[in-house]
C-alpha cells in the first residue's frame, strides 16, 4: 500500500479527477493548499502596493491505494495535471504502514479497495 500525494494546479483539478475516475481510482481526498516550486514570480498591485505573490494556489490530492493502483494513479495525475509550464506540481509516493476503514474496521488492502470494486 502506498499514499500517493499529488500537488497540482487548481485549474487542472477537474481534468485530474476525470483521469482518476477513468483509471478507476476512487478513494480521494482533495485539499486547497498554497505552495511554491520554482515557478516565475507573479506580481500583483493593490492601490499602488506592488507585491510578488510567492505562494501559488495549488490543489493536493491524497490517494491511498494498493500496490497495483500506484502506477495508474500516478499516470492519471500526470495526464490530468500536465500543462508543460513550470508549476505543474509534483507527486510524492510514500509507504503506508496501516489503513483502517472506520465504518467496518476492515484493515489494509481491504480498506483501500473501494466499496463495490
Amino acid at each position: 500500500m502506498k499514499l500517493v500525494i499529488g500537488i497540482v494546479r487548481p485549474e487542472r483539478v477537474n481534468d485530474v479527477l476525470r483521469a482518476l475516475y477513468k483509471a478507476e481510482v476512487r478513494g480521494i481526498t482533495l485539499t486547497r493548499v498554497q505552495g511554491h516550486g520554482g515557478e516565475l514570480e507573479r506580481v500583483e498591485t493593490y492601490r499602488g502596493m506592488t507585491v510578488q505573490v510567492g505562494m501559488e494556489d495549488k490543489a493536493r490530492f491524497e490517494i491511498a491505494v494498493s500496490d497495483e493502483f500506484v502506477d495508474p494513479a500516478i499516470e492519471a495525475l500526470c495526464e490530468g495535471g500536465r500543462t508543460g509550464e513550470v508549476g505543474d506540481g509534483k507527486i510524492f509516493v510514500v509507504p503506508l504502514e496501516r489503513v483502517v476503514r472506520i465504518r467496518t474496521g476492515e484493515e489494509d488492502n481491504a480498506a483501500v479497495t473501494p466499496v463495490g470494486a
Partner: protein, 426 residues
C-alpha cells in the same frame, strides 16, 4: 419654466439610477466563479467611464436631438446647447435631463457584459462597450424616447423596454454567439461563487429602479408617482410567483431564483410603469415570471453560453412588458392611451411593432459590431488564461488574496540591492 420640486426629484432619481451599475456589477460578480469576480465587476464599472464619455460626446445627441425617424441630429454633440435652461416641454434643466439619460446608457451597456463574462478579453470589451453605447443604445433610445419612428408612431415605452431591456437582452444573445461559450461550458459545472452578492445586488438594483421608473415621468406629477408605486408591486408579485414555480419544480425556493425574479419583475414593469393601473401591474408581475422562467430552464439545453441570462431576465421580460401595455394600458391612469382590453386595438399593433423591431436591430447590430471588432483583434482570451481566470490575467489582482507568502516589492531599487533578504524570491 424650471420647477424646483421636479428638479429636486430628478437629481435624486439620477443618483438612484447610477447606483444600479455597481449593483449590477455585484449581482454579476456573485454569479461567476471566484477567479473571475473582479473582471466581471470591472466590466460594469468600466461602463461608468466608457458610456458616460460616449454619451456626452455623441450618444446623447443621436438619441435626443431632433425628431428624425431613425437617427437624431448632431446639434447636441459635445453637449453643445445643453445648458441650465429647461429642455423643451420639460420643467427640469436640460443638463439634468442629459445626466439622467446618461445613467440609463451606462447601466444598459453594463448589462450586455453578462453574456460574455469569464472569457472575453477586457480591451476588446471596452472598445465594444464604447461603440455599442452609440450604435445600439443611442439609436434605440432615439426610436423609443427621442422622437424616432416608434414613439412618433404611438408606441408606449415608459422607462426603456425598447432600448434598455430588449436592447441589452437581444444584444447579449448575439454577443454570446459571436464570442462563443466558455471552454468548459456544458462539460463541467460552472457555479456561482457567492449567492449573497447576488441577493444584495438584486436588492440594490430594485432600490435604484425606483429612480429609473419613477424618474421617467421627469416630474413629481402623476405618471412618475404611478410608475414608482408599480415598481414596488410588479417585482413583488414576480418574486412570489417565482418562489412558487421553484417549489413546484424542485420543492425548494432557491435564493438565486429569488434574485432573478426581482430583476425580471423590475424589467417587466419598466416599459409599462406609468401606463397601467396598480392592479394590472400586479398581474404583469405574475405574467412576466412565466416566459422568463421558461427561458432560464431551457437555456442550458442549448449550446449558446449566454452566461448570466441577460436574454431571459431582460430581453424576454422587456418583451412581455412592452406587449402587456398593448392589452392593459388605461387612459384613466395614464392620460395618454388605452390598450386592447379598453377598446384600442391600435395600441397593441404599435407595441407589437416595437417588440419585433427592437430585438431585430439590437441582435443584428451587435452581431455585426462584434464580428468587425473580432476581425481586428481576438475577442476571447486563450484557453490557458481562461483556466487561471480573468482577474489574474487582465487585472493582476485577486478578489480574495490570502496575502500568505506575498513579498512587498520595494519602490526604491536601492533597497533591493542593499538588502538581499528583500531581493531574494521566496
Amino acid at each position: 419654466m424650471i420647477n424646483a420640486g421636479d428638479t429636486a426629484w430628478m437629481l435624486a432619481a439620477t443618483a438612484l439610477v447610477l447606483l444600479m451599475t455597481p449593483a449590477l456589477g455585484l449581482f454579476y460578480a456573485g454569479l461567476v466563479r471566484e477567479k473571475n469576480t473582479l473582471n466581471t465587476f470591472m466590466m460594469s464599472i468600466a461602463a461608468l467611464a466608457v458610456a458616460t464619455v460616449t454619451w456626452a460626446l455623441i450618444g446623447y445627441s443621436i438619441a435626443f436631438d431632433g425628431d428624425g425617424s431613425i437617427l437624431g441630429g448632431l446639434h447636441n454633440a459635445f453637449l453643445h446647447d445643453v445648458g441650465l435652461e429647461p429642455r423643451a416641454n420639460s420643467t427640469i434643466p436640460h443638463i439634468l435631463f442629459f445626466a439622467f439619460q446618461a445613467t440609463f446608457c451606462i447601466v444598459t451597456t453594463a448589462l450586455v457584459s453578462g453574456a460574455v463574462v469569464e472569457r472575453m478579453r477586457f480591451g476588446p470589451f471596452l472598445v465594444f462597450a464604447a461603440l455599442w453605447s452609440v450604435l445600439v443604445y443611442a439609436v434605440l433610445a432615439h426610436w423609443a424616447f427621442g422622437g424616432g419612428w416608434l414613439i412618433s408612431g404611438g408606441t408606449l415605452d415608459f422607462a426603456g423596454g425598447v432600448p434598455v431591456e430588449m436592447g441589452s437582452g437581444f444584444s447579449a444573445l448575439a454577443a454570446a454567439i459571436v464570442v462563443g461559450g466558455r471552454k468548459d461550458y456544458g462539460r463541467q459545472a460552472l457555479l456561482p461563487h457567492n449567492t449573497v452578492y447576488v441577493l444584495l445586488g438584486a436588492g440594490l438594483l430594485w432600490f435604484g429602479w425606483f429612480g429609473f421608473n419613477g424618474g421617467s415621468g421627469f416630474s413629481v406629477g402623476a405618471p412618475g408617482v404611478l410608475a414608482f408605486t408599480n415598481t414596488l408591486l410588479t417585482p413583488a408579485c414576480t418574486l412570489g410567483v417565482w418562489m412558487i414555480l421553484d417549489i413546484i419544480r424542485g420543492r425548494q425556493a432557491t435564493a438565486i431564483g429569488a434574485a432573478t425574479a426581482i430583476i425580471v419583475g423590475c424589467v417587466g414593469i419598466t416599459p409599462a410603469a406609468g401606463f397601467i393601473s396598480p392592479m394590472w401591474a400586479m398581474v404583469l408581475g405574475v405574467v412576466a415570471a412565466l416566459p422568463s422562467y421558461a427561458v432560464i430552464i431551457l437555456r442550458p439545453r442549448f449550446r449558446i453560453d449566454e452566461t448570466l441570462d441577460v436574454l431571459a431576465a431582460h430581453g424576454v421580460a422587456g418583451f412581455t412588458g412592452i406587449l402587456f401595455i398593448g392589452f392593459f394600458a388605461q387612459k384613466g391612469w395614464n392620460g395618454v392611451s388605452d390598450g386592447l382590453v379598453y377598446g384600442n386595438f391600435d395600441q397593441l399593433v404599435d407595441q407589437v411593432l416595437a417588440a419585433l423591431a427592437a430585438p431585430a436591430y439590437a441582435f443584428g447590430m451587435t452581431f455585426a459590431l462584434l464580428k468587425i471588432i473580432g476581425a481586428v483583434t481576438p475577442l476571447r482570451s486563450t484557453t490557458h488564461q481562461e483556466a487561471i481566470g480573468m482577474d489574474e490575467t487582465f487585472h493582476g489582482e485577486e478578489a480574495y488574496p490570502s496575502g500568505e507568502g506575498a513579498v512587498l516589492v520595494m519602490t526604491e531599487p536601492r533597497a533591493k540591492q542593499d538588502d538581499p533578504r528583500v531581493a531574494t524570491p521566496v
